[in-house]
Symmetry: C2
Subunit: 288 residues, 2 copies
Amino acid sequence: MISVNKLVLLGTGLIGGSFALALKRAGLVRHVVGVGRNPENLARALQLRVIDEASHSAATAVQGADLVLLATPVGQMGGLIRDIAPHLADDCVISDAGSTKQDVAALFREHLGARLAQCVPAHPIAGSELSGASAAQYGLYEGRRVVLTPLPESAPAAVARVRALWEACGASVFEMSTGEHDSIFAAVSHVPHLLAFSYMNALLDRSNADACLDFAATGFRDFTRIAGGHPAMWRDITLANRAAILADLKANAARLAQAIELVENADTAGLTDYIERASRARNAWGSC
Amino acid sequence: MISVNKLVLLGTGLIGGSFALALKRAGLVRHVVGVGRNPENLARALQLRVIDEASHSAATAVQGADLVLLATPVGQMGGLIRDIAPHLADDCVISDAGSTKQDVAALFREHLGARLAQCVPAHPIAGSELSGASAAQYGLYEGRRVVLTPLPESAPAAVARVRALWEACGASVFEMSTGEHDSIFAAVSHVPHLLAFSYMNALLDRSNADACLDFAATGFRDFTRIAGGHPAMWRDITLANRAAILADLKANAARLAQAIELVENADTAGLTDYIERASRARNAWGSC
């Protein structure tokens, strides 16, 4: 039985709201309680039937729940997990939707040491430019990927349940360790963001920055799209996945230093190899 | 009178072909000769009426021409300019479509020292994933920008003629010095390409590169799109604009080193400022 009697969303925005809507459509959830700090957003979630009940208290809301999804920014999860810990039922599965996993696993370990069998850290790879409950949509996870990073203590039945629910949302589910997850997403998401922020800062330092921005075209547009990311969110992700990001940033700095050397030496053959390796791999990569 | 009696395209691909088509549509050119090294491409250009005559000899083709457009990769322009120099008429205007300008200006200066008044270096900011004469299209330059970088010696009438022709293609025309051009395009185009190549190389170095590429999503897709660029073309652009690129790459390396320091120190306030400055500027930038 994977179906959920009482689902509690800690954080009632795009990510949690879309999960609730997909489960409702699949007929897999009876009652959804949305918790959040923004009364207008909660009212909107109720009005749109994303949730069936709104609450300002995580501790109260989770009582009697059989599934709790932490769907706030990772920075808010520690306090929430601490608050709900005394109120969780023995059959409640606790999962999350954070984009870093070692830190969330550590929070589970810190506050829910006796309930680690019930904890299943997860990362749905989906999003939108929009946010808030009004952006929630039934099909957000269709064809997308969800990574589960079970703890050694996670009960196989709890992992299987979370997997089945995400699959019911239309997602493909993968499993890996928290460390592997954070290493991969440092490389393909967090570090590209920091490189894009770095590039924008270097551009803004220029005395002709305005003229540059004026003549910037489609290559610039795509390369810097991720530089428009939300500062507090990306600061938190960076701090949350600091070790993996730092190692990867240093590897990037070394490769950049090599490019500088090739250019400085006008090394035609070396530049060709350097560019060809990158270009071949990028063109072989299946678009998404 | 801006209209052209005999236009010679040295290089009969997307860029030159689209220029010819736009002028034909505007009724501003009587006869177009296409020069190129690929017989099949020239045959296709004739068949599609992009050109009216095909030639394998630049020296022969330019005789009697009143406009010559160099529209090959910049690496081939030196030989072509040398070859045509003895055969140019006194009223012929010589322009180009290269994406770097100091090096093209130097080639004009080297081979056409007596005809610098007739030379107008230019850079149409347009392109496509496609190439060759069969990709040429009437509207390629509509609403796009063209930068003219006149030499101190360029005759005002020659500059005005080139400007009017590009405007007739639907482009907005700007003028700046060759150095200003190369500095701006290093910053907003050439360096982003090298940063994207560098990032791809660092990613491919990883022992889990395949898993990374497997989980890479839309942020990666956009950030690395320009890493798929043509290796020989980007090697040549890099070498052609070496000084400006080198200075900008070094500024980027310094900004990246700062990011590494902020992450290493878990400097929350510093990271926030760093990301906010980038994000604000990117979001303020008008999309294109």
